[in-house]
Symmetry: D3
Subunit: 149 residues, 6 copies
Amino acid sequence: MSSTDRQSLKPLVYLTRIEKFCSAHRLNSRALDVQTNSQTYGKCNAVHGHNYTAEITLKGTVDAITGMVLDIAVLNEIIAQTVMKSLDHKNIDEDVPYFRDNDIVSTAENISVYIWKVIAERLPPNVTLDSIKLHETDKNVFVFRGEYA
Amino acid sequence: MSSTDRQSLKPLVYLTRIEKFCSAHRLNSRALDVQTNSQTYGKCNAVHGHNYTAEITLKGTVDAITGMVLDIAVLNEIIAQTVMKSLDHKNIDEDVPYFRDNDIVSTAENISVYIWKVIAERLPPNVTLDSIKLHETDKNVFVFRGEYA
Amino acid sequence: MSSTDRQSLKPLVYLTRIEKFCSAHRLNSRALDVQTNSQTYGKCNAVHGHNYTAEITLKGTVDAITGMVLDIAVLNEIIAQTVMKSLDHKNIDEDVPYFRDNDIVSTAENISVYIWKVIAERLPPNVTLDSIKLHETDKNVFVFRGEYA
Amino acid sequence: MSSTDRQSLKPLVYLTRIEKFCSAHRLNSRALDVQTNSQTYGKCNAVHGHNYTAEITLKGTVDAITGMVLDIAVLNEIIAQTVMKSLDHKNIDEDVPYFRDNDIVSTAENISVYIWKVIAERLPPNVTLDSIKLHETDKNVFVFRGEYA
Amino acid sequence: MSSTDRQSLKPLVYLTRIEKFCSAHRLNSRALDVQTNSQTYGKCNAVHGHNYTAEITLKGTVDAITGMVLDIAVLNEIIAQTVMKSLDHKNIDEDVPYFRDNDIVSTAENISVYIWKVIAERLPPNVTLDSIKLHETDKNVFVFRGEYA
Amino acid sequence: MSSTDRQSLKPLVYLTRIEKFCSAHRLNSRALDVQTNSQTYGKCNAVHGHNYTAEITLKGTVDAITGMVLDIAVLNEIIAQTVMKSLDHKNIDEDVPYFRDNDIVSTAENISVYIWKVIAERLPPNVTLDSIKLHETDKNVFVFRGEYA
């Protein structure tokens, strides 16, 4: 890219907002019997809970006048209306229709995919969802980038 | 204290072990009606959960030969057999007899007092329990020092 | 204290709420000349800013029915109306009357005392202010406990 | 790649140095009127400040003898002479010519691009700048990878 | 990819496990003389130590029934038998054959490559090693993604 | 204390500076035989290392003009000349005369006492050393307040 081209382009920046939510859940699949559930999920087969930390990353070009990819208040409102409203201070398995009605086990992998879906469908057109990073504990972290294989 | 006296004494050191446990709970008192519970506890009246961080602090003199207040493996085993065994990956309100059978609301205040009680009764004689510090979230922290008023 | 006495008493618990605010300031005393200000405060004599972290700690007895020292929503509202309203996203030296009108240098020591004063006068009667802990950076931390000497 | 090829190549490692700086700024565009600035930037339109955390990531191959991508003291000196010297304990809008003289709003997006530019032009030839990650607060994080669109 | 295709595919998720180990080491190359070692490595030429934090990231598709990429207990056991067993509470230069017997300097770059190698050869077939991120201190972080150049 | 008295007094503030140092050590007492050392100290009997975090807390009154307890640059210089110079990037058992020459085991308890001693004897007269808090790992923390028993 020539220096001239670069000046007519805008920098592409990744913007991350980090929010925490406090939820109860258990890992238990209706497709498995009691013993297999216990073997598969160990202590996570019992009802317990977490302070989840979600890192929601968008990418977009920096507006030449405002200097912003997106007004972060817009992203906050989207996260509040989707992630926080449905997951914070809830029992994920019983209170969130996506998990309860579809027999989806509330693993961190599946919660990451859920967050991707509810955020992606509400984003304004000039930004793209890049990744969802979910810390279930300080030691277990999960990332979904919208990829399927 | 004279310099001579000080040399015959041993340094008093406070030793803290930090452990995390993942539990579900809700704040709900059987002494209150549904509406009052909802008003008193807000969103915490619903079943949810936390990664709790407990800081358990002992005090004792430093052994002149080993240089230790207490072998930390001893403290770890006490915490494992009490705090971790009863609270980690549990629903506090349903799985812990202290809360379930005595109608004690599982506030962080009461969990701190519970941890004090189960640790204090198992400590070896040469150390004293100093405090229990419980982080319910990154923003809400509680300390119990065994004081009553 | 006998076991009987203890049962009629209530546990005393320290409750800490942690909030962050983002402010600009400079260290500069009108009682000192330009050169002395520069020597006294070094690089902090220039206008700069911080993400301050304030730990506000109350103490009180645990209510036998609710299990709480204080509804944390009450404390949050007090912090919002005092600390956050006056300091967050402000230039402390120009926007906060306590510092501006009294020629008080906005050191972390003085900000800690300021936070103590605005919180203490609004607390409900059943709790006591224990300490203000202010992190100016990750390496510089200040505590005020309402003591004078 | 065959095992033989791999042995003749060197591992490519990403090296990150993390530094913090304390600055004042406000979000205000000279291209917008007072009311639009207030609507666009909200509370950030007032002078305030942050402890910024910058993660500067280089990539390069590991030297077979020293085992290093780059002597980290070299990177530290580059960061000190560029990022720290121009931004730490400064009012970005008034003290940094890049922002002041070009009417560039000091958003975290634009600060990330600025850090990229000042670091990239001083790197030794055997390493490449990979990304600038800037934490404005614990909840708002920005990454620039030198991409334009 | 059509919506139909996507439904027949499974989400690809990156799973990270974070572990810490406490090791002694020094940076010193047998290929360099005493003076050059001192100049190259500075204070790191002396025996010292770190609490290293390793982030081990795998990628794989989410199992439709269990909702997991991999039972994290399996990954934990692999990390325990490789990383923790060989590095934790060890002097890397003297106790780890990879470094001691091959004259490999125990830089964070080389430790990252070592961790990649010992983890990669023991992973189950349905997951892939994505990256090793090694924090030597809070300010110095290294990533190896299995790339050679 | 009357309001009049309070105005003639100055606020007492606790000032903490947090520094990190990277050291090697092992726990081994010359007063114990090989087997007892192994039993007493477990894995810590082998040479390993840590990123230690030291929190050094002073107390003093806030100067009415400068607004400071102590110029933090003075405290930094004291820490640099004592704690950092003797412990950072060192093997504590071999490089620090206090431990090496007096057969003092380099437990975190004893390192806390050592830091207290080297800091206390160099403080200016208007401040008092309050405590040394030493984090050996994220889970093991030690405090010495100058008390003996």
